[in-house]
């Protein structure tokens, strides 16, 4: 499935400026943002499950 995303990555050939430090900065922003979204979503769901014992009981069923 990831195969279909590969050609899009090659667009960097038209933007050589991203192959340097700017690309690394953008990569850091993308990775940091992804981490924050994944972590924040996970913590929210975890907290919601903890705060509503009704849902936890459903889980155990």
């Amino acid at each position: 499935m990831l195969l279909f995303f590969v050609p899009a990555v090659l667009a960097v050939l038209d933007h050589r400026e991203f192959l340097g430090l700017l690309g690394l900065k953008l990569l850091a922003v993308v990775l940091g943002g992804t981490l924050l979204v994944m972590g924040g979503t996970g913590l929210t769901v975890d907290l919601c499950c903890r705060l509503s014992p009704r849902l936890v009981r459903h889980d155990d069923k």
Partner: protein, 130 residues
């Protein structure tokens, strides 16, 4: 009508070559990742890196590359729709936990928008100050 117009042209062979290279390198990367799972050997890291190297080596333009492989990008549409199937299979879990899932979706969206909006703003203000 000349015979040459009936035969596939150079653009066709270039498209075939780049499609084959993309698919071949992707499955090659998958094979390598299966044997030696490292972060850099992920198919979505290794395959584009090898393809970029190959394109740079052959002095290929992106416009030429995408002309031959655009059909792969077009396939993303049906692939995205096909994601409905695994979600449909989890419909019992979704129905049971929808408030928690909704909270997670709302929070995830909010964090995504705030980080995307906050990051460039801070970096531009920093460059303006320094």
């Amino acid at each position: 009508m000349t015979t040459s117009s009936l035969l596939p042209g150079a653009a066709f062979w270039a498209g075939l070559f780049w499609s084959a290279a993309t698919i071949g390198l992707y499955y090659g990367a998958r094979f390598v990742h299966g044997r030696r799972p490292r972060w850099w050997s992920s198919p979505l890291t290794l395959a584009p890196l090898l393809l970029i190297g190959l394109a740079l080596l052959l002095h290929e333009q992106y416009s030429e590359y995408i002309r031959g492989t655009h059909w792969l990008v077009v396939m993303l549409g049906p692939v995205t729709v096909a994601f409905a199937l695994p979600i449909f299979k989890q419909r019992a879990v979704i129905r049971r936990h929808w408030p928690v899932l909704l909270a997670g979706v709302v929070m995830g969206n909010a964090i995504a928008m705030l980080t995307a909006w906050g990051w460039p703003r801070r970096s531009t203000s920093r460059t303006r100050c320094g």
